[in-house]
Symmetry: C2
Subunit: 561 residues, 2 copies
């Protein structure tokens, strides 16, 4: 059996080594257009900032090791330009020698990855305008930095854009981020991304939201970037981080089925529409675990697993021993100046777009017992089906422990768990690691209470202009001191501990919208009022959530201190 | 409805506040024999060491807050001495006034907790011999420390024993740990606990294993503790941390059903054999999620959940809205001098004792991508059903990230997942948080390979005296340099990268037991040899696992450098 693999990074390298372990006698040829195989593309930004000090650390393995340990025929700097499906050959150009040749295959794995998008604006092809995907890209950026670049503009505020912004700052460059959406980190809901904007600005990164680069032109030194808003920015270096598109050109030219998002269509064994060709990694479309919808979700973890699954399929066929791909849930994380944002499953805005019923709750716990020093606050947003309680997604921002909570919920989503299951999860507890009621349990309590109908909830997002209708009254149940520090427009204040004695101050013909700082006292007050016959709902997540939605709406300065 | 609750810490306080939220009109009386409610018992050791600087931090809430916010009738320093089930009253003594009185109930919740065991040895009742369970206990220990105690002996090396040892050292006391088992942390398998012994000794804690305190007698200064081994140790302070027994005396005297482990028997709604009485927390027996066996597992997280469930049951009866308890899986964690040990589900030794079929695999990954600075090594042991692949338990030792991996597997166990599910988990990845193939995925890969029959595995524990039989040969596939640094007795060395060219050096009529450093190269070599027709098994976990089992067997000095 002769296996040919196109692309030698995450998915391709995984497919090659797994195939070798499963099949000692196969001939395995790996073509990689770049000079390196299996490099650490997720580490590239950190070399710019100096966190990773040696470039060699980014080389996870070497062609030599792959040859010696796995008997792979590794050919770097070789591009595959065409597939002849009838002859079962690929047309290859060896960039070292310029030689062109045909290579035959019994099975072919396509793992070419994705290409950074370049917006079609004037000047996007200037030498100061770069992308970051490969070590070659990194070298080009570093050459400009070392030649004295002082000002960087990052276009696009996704994961790589923000990691680049942090690392340019660490390198001493004046850094600007431009994002066409009104928020950073588009995978997150806007209010969950808002604290990252604050963090960037606090670290003196300039951030332009709802704005776009329209042209890049020559300047006395470097380039000038003209934004849609009319602002013009000067820079020595512009990095485009506006997304990637699947590298499916080779597959499309060979007549393989391509999906609506431009990625190669594959089965759950990574098989394309040609039964002798498999495709993995950033070049394919995948099914979303939560919504069932297809999409393009370029992530390293799934790419690695897809490579293994393709090898299983090639060697083992439809045997039950061969693993199958279960789709992608988009578990992802980014650290920016020590702040952490992570998510898994669907966001509320994505579900709204897809017309899928959902509710969300917010909790604002500490990462571990607050009586133990060093506890760090986090905000955890849990999104679920309001009927069944099935967990649909989660997002968290904070510092330490954010990764753990999102990974816990990632497993829960994979298992099809409900918010009632989250209530009951038994997690490790010692005061330096967690709480007897872990943040995930807390989110489960709040969400399960909502699904059970224990406490009606209303959304802070609807309160930016005060109560949403004339019938409703905002009731702040925090202390007078907290109320004085900042509160919702028109809110009245009755501390929860006085509530039972002051019920006669509240109207019975109006709707009471209750809130506290994080949602807990509001919940207690809601339960009291509900049982006393009032029409009441708790504004889940409390004043902390209000500040988030306010920041996301760009209303920060109007009401809060 | 009148609810009386006996005990105001984790389970009792949770039951009381949940009952109030569910039922505004109930009369709720909370009796607590101590002066404090809802204190942070898991934090007590850290006050001794100074990590928690203010004693007031240990008071999670106050009787005043419980009265104001939850309208609870909190009576501290009141002991409940008897239950009259027919009259539905409890007999109470108010320790403040000495007054005795009866209090009626409609529903009664017993949350008295557990009592530290005191071995019946001479001198165990001396004033220098203390336990640590309450703030009173803490004050007694602190009084002796502040009076100049310089030497502490901790009897028992469970969680609290080791946390105490760390904190006595931090406080400057010369500290000795005595444990009657041949290992510390009895919930773990011995080889997983061995590195903690190393850590304790490296920090100059004296550790006596397989030894017991037989008598405690007067000394010129302080006391002398005579050990079974013949050693005598002097100390100013002896702390007994040999375990707890459920405080089920009140329940037993009232004729409630008591289980074989001495705990109160309850339903999945925490109801005792008397339908008007519930019991929660460390006083009860619980079902083990993995084995289905009953036992006594005192943990704070389950106690809190049980309190909530009892309140649900009391207010909502058998309604589907009332949560039910799912049993305990023993998720637990301890930090000792920066080392972390955690586990969830069953240990291998527990399953062996219960006669439950199981296999275990070891992986030794870093907590995050090794190309990013600061990666810390961990050892993760995954235990599973060798037929179905169902995950039965996991244990991990290391530093950062141990808590996350055990919590992830805790959810997997709760969901009934298999090792095939662990392979496919999609977890968050950025280089400072994890790896594209997370340690949990890695453990899943190894275990799934075993269940699928991809790579026969043998156990390092059987190799302490070299190959277990004359037919077997130990084959070390690491580099010559690694081999020279230490290897298994009688092993021969052929590096994996040379293996295919040196197959003729290997006998075909013997069994080859292959190993490397952590198991990965051994796996590759096993796959090569298997496909080439050799009789072969991989010694899972490699030389690092060998060092662990060797340390646990007390053979450290014989073979390794």
């Amino acid at each position: 059996m002769k296996l040919v693999i196109v692309g030698g990074v995450a998915g391709g390298a995984s497919a090659a080594t797994r195939a070798r372990r499963l099949c000692e006698d196969a001939e395995i040829v790996l073509f990689e257009r770049g000079p390196d195989v299996s490099f650490a593309n997720c580490g590239l930004p950190y070399f710019i900032g100096g966190e990773i000090a040696q470039r060699s650390k980014l080389l996870v393995t070497s062609p030599a090791l792959l040859r010696d340990r796995f008997r792979l025929d590794v050919r770097t700097r070789c591009t595959v330009e065409a597939i002849d499906r009838r002859a079962k050959t690929v047309r290859v150009t060896d960039l070292n020698s310029g030689r062109r040749f045909d290579e035959s295959y019994d099975a072919l794995v396509l793992a070419p990855g994705a290409t950074p998008l370049r917006p079609s604006i004037p000047g996007a092809d200037r030498p100061e305008v770069l992308t970051l995907r490969s070590l070659d890209d990194l070298d080009r950026i570093m050459a400009r930095v070392e030649a004295g670049a002082k000002r960087a503009i990052v276009v696009g505020a996704g994961f790589i854009g923000l990691e680049l912004a942090e690392n340019f700052m660490k390198r001493g460059l004046e850094t600007t981020v431009v994002e066409h959406q009104p928020q950073v980190l588009p995978r997150l809901d806007p209010e969950m991304a808002a604290p990252i904007v604050d963090e960037l600005r606090a670290k003196r990164v300039a951030v332009f939201l709802s704005d776009s680069a329209m042209a890049i032109r020559n300047a006395t030194a470097g380039v000038t970037v003209d934004l849609a808003s009319g602002t013009s920015l000067n820079a020595d270096l512009v990095i485009l981080g506006v997304g990637v598109r699947p590298e499916s050109g080779l597959a499309a030219a060979a007549g393989l089925e391509i999906g609506p998002f431009g990625g190669v269509c594959v089965s759950d064994q990574m098989q394309t529409s040609d039964p002798s060709i498999w495709a993995v990694g950033d070049a394919i479309e995948v099914r979303d675990v939560v919504s069932g919808a297809m999409g393009h979700v370029p992530l390293a973890g799934p790419a690695n697993r897809q490579g293994r699954i393709a090898a299983d399929s090639i060697v083992r066929g439809a045997s039950p021993l061969a693993a199958r791909f279960r789709g992608v849930q988009g578990s992802s994380i980014v650290g920016v100046f020590g702040r952490v944002a992570a998510s898994t499953g669907a966001s509320a805005k994505q579900l709204a777009r897809q017309g899928i019923r959902h509710r969300s709750v917010y909790v604002h716990p500490a990462n571990h017992a607050t009586y133990y020093p060093g506890a760090q606050p986090m905000t955890l947003k849990l999104t679920f089906d309001p009927d069944s309680g099935r967990v649909l997604g989660a997002q968290a921002i904070g510092g330490a422990g954010v990764d753990k909570r999102i990974d816990i919920i990632a497993v829960a989503i994979q298992a099809g768990m409900t918010v009632f299951d989250l209530e009951q999860l038994e997690l490790c507890y010692a005061p330096q690691f967690g709480s007897a009621k872990d943040p995930v349990n807390m989110a489960g309590f709040v969400a399960a209470g909502l699904v059970r109908g224990d406490h009606p909830q209303a959304d802070m997002a609807d309160m930016l202009d005060g109560p949403p209708d004339d019938r409703s009254i905002l009731l702040d149940v925090r202390t007078a001191e907290e109320f004085e520090m900042g509160h919702l427009p028109t809110a009245v204040n009755i501390p929860v501990d006085e509530l039972r004695d002051r019920l006669d101050e509240l109207p019975r013909d109006r709707r009471l919208l209750v809130y506290c700082q994080v949602g807990m006292r509001g919940y207690i007050a809601t339960r009291i009022l509900l049982q006393k016959g009032f029409d009441v709902a708790n504004l889940g997540g409390g004043y902390k959530t209000y500040l988030l939605v306010q920041a996301a709406a760009g209303r920060r300065d109007r009401e809060s201190p």
